[in-house]
């Protein structure tokens, strides 16, 4: 017997090690009832926590060092073309101002309809900016690790986005870091709508990291390449109307001829993620009939749509938090909305600003309204909340961007283009600690009291 063990020592050792690993694997696969699908046993989670915790500080250090040098170089390089870029941006701002006027009309109309229909929607109220510090390192699993964990308020199943589109959802949370499952992982999924045709489906990842809609759209439907795909909100993870990608092709499903397989190019560059936003809080806003406005007079609508000199009513009562009810005040248009760029923002917010995330968390507020939902046009843009429901976005010291009721300012600061109602200018306050997106009408303090 002793001879047997001596002779077959190596194969026996191999079998023993494999047996232990298979048993450990089985305990994870066979989860206790009630456990979440992604969760693993406490013992194996410990290995994951230890490994991630041990590597995270080193990775953070490398990321920070690399970022320091890269930013230094970029700052130098950016200065060289600043004048030309400034001119281009001025033109872009002028163009966007005109576009904003059109969008505001659509949004106002949508709000009126929402009041009539008593719509309920979820709006982003709080986000946490985070840096990507690692990936899974394999093609079989598309995960990223971010440098914010439970201490920053991150929880599992929170949506992760960038200004370009959705990224994924939080899978595992540790104290100082979290792992995010990307939407192009084959275990991932999100409810989506094709923007023009309004067809609904579920987008999933493939083993090669591509995005596909494989279920829900019949093969007799017409889907054109280039059509935008946005989130439907049905999965209760991603906010509705957020960009997912664009259609690059559609073919009949090999397995089931009755369905289409639609390939999608993701809006967010999932291979080059650096900064992301985790949506830590969403609120249910409803346009209840009681809070709704009275029907507008035709004159008010006209004054809102046509260029006019701003009327300032110093006696206008300030509603709590500067909130307005229902339809946006028709006389509040001409004052520019200001997008305050953070100057004294903390490191985390700088990261958010660098990626343009300062535009993100302020749906329904001036310029941030359109930026908050870049993919929203037409019907989706119409579902943006009114300024009454979406107060000013502010960033807390922890780097999270939180919406708090805005304080209406008594007088308009800058009227750049009186001919264009709701024209937008970019302003940099001396010490704005937050990325603040202020509704145009509230900045001007021109709220029209509910009649």
């Amino acid at each position: 017997m002793e001879n047997f063990f001596t002779r077959y020592k190596n194969p026996l050792a191999l079998m023993a090690v494999l047996f232990i690993q298979v048993v450990a694997l089985a305990t994870q696969v066979k989860r206790p009832e009630g456990a979440k699908p992604g969760s693993t046993g406490s013992g194996t989670r410990l290995i994951r926590v230890w490994t991630v915790t041990a590597f995270t500080p080193v990775e953070k250090m490398f990321v920070s060092t690399g970022r320091f040098f890269r930013d230094g170089w970029h700052n130098y390089a950016d200065l060289r073309g600043a004048r030309k870029q400034n001119t281009e941006l001025q033109e872009e701002v002028a163009r966007l101002q005109l576009e904003q006027v059109r969008l505001k009309q659509d949004a106002d109309q949508a709000r009126r309809l929402q009041v009539l229909l008593d719509f309920k929607e979820k709006f982003i109220t709080k986000t946490v900016a985070a840096q990507v510090i690692a990936t899974s390192g394999t093609e079989q699993s598309r995960l990223i690790t971010i440098d914010k964990g439970s201490k920053a308020g991150i929880k599992t199943d929170m949506a992760v986005i960038t200004p370009d589109g959705i990224v994924g959802k939080v899978k595992d949370v540790y104290s100082l870091s979290s792992q995010v499952l990307l939407i192009n992982d084959h275990d991932s999924g999100a409810g989506v709508i094709l923007e023009n045709s309004r067809l609904q489906g579920i987008v999933k990842g493939t083993p090669l990291g591509e995005l596909q809609i494989t279920e829900g759209i019949m093969s007799d439907e017409k889907v054109e390449a280039g059509e935008r795909v946005i989130t439907s909100g049905g999965d209760r993870i991603y906010p509705k109307g957020y960009p997912v990608g664009t259609v690059i092709g559609a073919t009949a499903d090999r397995d089931s001829e009755s369905f289409l397989v639609i390939k999608i190019k993701p809006s967010a560059d999932l291979n080059r993620l650096e900064e992301v936003l985790v949506i830590t809080e969403m609120s249910d806003n409803s346009h209840s009939a009681s809070a709704g406005p009275e029907p507008m007079r035709a004159a008010d609508i006209l004054s809102q749509r046509l260029p006019s000199i701003p009327k300032i009513d110093p006696n206008a009562p300030k509603t709590p938090g500067g909130a307005q009810t229902g339809v946006a005040a028709p006389k509040a248009s001409p004052t520019p909305a200001k997008v305050n760029k953070p100057v004294n923002a903390g490191t985390e917010q700088k990261a958010a600003s660098a990626s343009g995330s300062a535009k993100l968390p302020g749906p329904g507020s001036g310029t941030a309204q359109t930026a908050a939902a870049p993919g929203k046009t037409g019907a989706d843009a119409k579902k943006q909340p009114s300024s009454a429901q979406t107060p000013t976005a502010q960033t807390s010291a922890a780097g999270s961007t939180e919406t708090t009721p805005p304080k209406p300012k008594p007088t308009p600061k800058k009227v750049k283009t009186p001919a264009a109602p709701d024209s937008t200018t970019l302003d940099k306050p001396a010490s704005a600690p937050t990325a603040t997106a202020t509704p145009a009408n509230q900045t001007a303090g021109q709220e029209k009291p509910p009649r």
Partner: protein, 172 residues
Amino acid sequence: MNASVSLTSREEIEVHRFSWPVSIGIPVLAIFLQVFLRVRFLAVLDLPLLVTIFFAVARRRPIPGMITGALIGTLQDAWTGHPIGVFGIAKTIVGYLGSSLGVKVDVDNPGSRFLMTFAFVLIHRFVYMAISLQLVGGSEAWIWSHTLLSALVNGLAAVVLFAALDKFKLRN
């Protein structure tokens, strides 16, 4: 007459040793680089697997080889979304086979290193798929072209990497 089949000379079956910092530092560095470097092309490169193969064939002892593979694979699993053990089992088998092969075949030659790594990448992928599909219940598809490309890239990388890592071998 008991003649064991061996394709190596006496010198070639020398069992190499490594210092403790190298034994720990190189695998940890490989895993770190694998998860830290976010270059898409490098995703087909499996540095932890290459390190597993290198230590296994250099030590030429199956038990240390498979334990090295098991530890590296388990650490790698921690960064993935899979249950822990999928890469662990795959690399355990590769470590065992690598150290067993090191006794029989000349594995210090660049050509044999390329072929050996090419084969081990396929085996690793096969074992991974078997575990993923049969034990974990995954739904991954075997894509031949991608797998062969990965084996080719890793085989070429192994030739360069192993030559660099040879410098860490302790000579008696």
